[in-house]
Amino acid sequence: MSSAPRPYTLVAELTYRCPLRCVYCSNPVDFHRSRDELSTAEWRRVFSEASELGVMQLHLSGGEPVLRDDLVELISHARARDLYTNLITGGTLLDEDKLRRYRDAGLDHIQLSIQGATQENAETVAGVRSHQEKLEAARLIGKLEFPLTLNVVIHRMNIAEVPELIALALELGANRLELANTQFYAWAAENRRALMPTREQYDRAEQIAREAIDKYRGQLEIAFVQNDYLSGEPKPCMGGWGRSYICINPTGEVMPCHAASVIPGLSFDSVRDRALADIWRDSPAMNAFRGDEWMIEPCRSCPRKEIDFGGCRCQAFMLAGNAAEADPICRLSPHHEIVESMRESGADAPLIYRDVKTSRELSKPA
């Protein structure tokens, strides 16, 4: 059996346009270059091909996917291909009419982001007025009886609000709450010091979350996504490179994850040029870190290599300068020391907001 594994999940980044300016945004820092978005017909074809390839879960993501004028048609097509269809939205552009049309088109689930439990805190992070609009969106989502996941990216400025965030999720009738500690890529890497919680903050939040997970089991599912720097355990990133996830960016480039463009030397095939099945099976980028042939020590002989797949390739590149190294988050990595120095939490660090102007400035050739 030398064939490629079967993908289960497609993350479709429909656009990088977004009304929010979140300082932890996971879109690439040079996102302003990706303006030539796939057309309705191209996304429809991609969803059909993904379904034939075995994909079950579709995440319509962004940027802000609600900015796509063809979102209803895309949802409708995804459901016609029997994909479990999830809308990942900031919520500020939703209204009852749009939500009704999404529901009628067959949307299965909505994941709504909020930035904090208090307006001031949330809008400091989002960079625009947005908190009340999001709470209103959550109420409309509840009114139309959509299943709702509330997603909160957790960092130094909102980590003390975990109890209030849990209470808010219960009040809004969410089924699931993701307390997703910041993953330090893209804009979050630019803002690392400002976003990094202290050890004490993190341990406290984790303990509260663990207790709440048990307390609300069956009522509210709570996921606590680890902070790599403070957890000390390498994560099984994307469930392994090219194993079950496909991410397609707004211009149609096919990637194993949304951060992979940070690794130099990888070129991504586009769905504009090739069939998705061909790209999944034999594009060089998709095969670059598939399986374990690429591994060096300490991963190569590690008994955990089938569990954590050596951690995250992007993080290995960012921290060790080589994407084939063990993720330096791992204590066995020869580069683990660097993680220590990067745990510093900086209340004085300035915030760099994600917007087109800053994207242009940060991605100028050196």
Partner: protein, 91 residues
């Protein structure tokens, strides 16, 4: 949480059954994950229409699957349904 006699289970709004034509098995899909079901599991969940009690579901299955021991089967059905409910996928 235990199932009582009056419970008439049905799938939660966020959960959906889908036949996977590649692995040729029924899947229970929900946000961020999926459960692969064996034939019995799939038959149980298909019967969860909010109308039938767990006892009625078990009885129907014992007919379909030619299982004599109804008490054991009922216990297994309730156990399975409780597991799924604990994940918030049944109401």
């Amino acid at each position: 949480m235990t199932a009582n006699d009056q419970w008439r289970p049905r799938l939660a709004a966020r959960a959906r059954l889908k036949f996977d034509p590649i692995a040729k098995q029924e899947m229970l899909l929900f946000p961020e994950a999926a459960l692969a079901l064996n034939e019995t599991g799939a038959a149980i969940l298909r019967a969860c229409d909010g109308m039938r009690t767990t006892a009625e579901i078990a009885e129907e299955l014992s007919r379909n699957y030619d299982r004599a021991d109804r008490d054991v089967l009922t216990r297994e059905v309730v156990e399975f349904l409780s597991t799924i409910r604990a994940r918030g996928l049944l109401e």
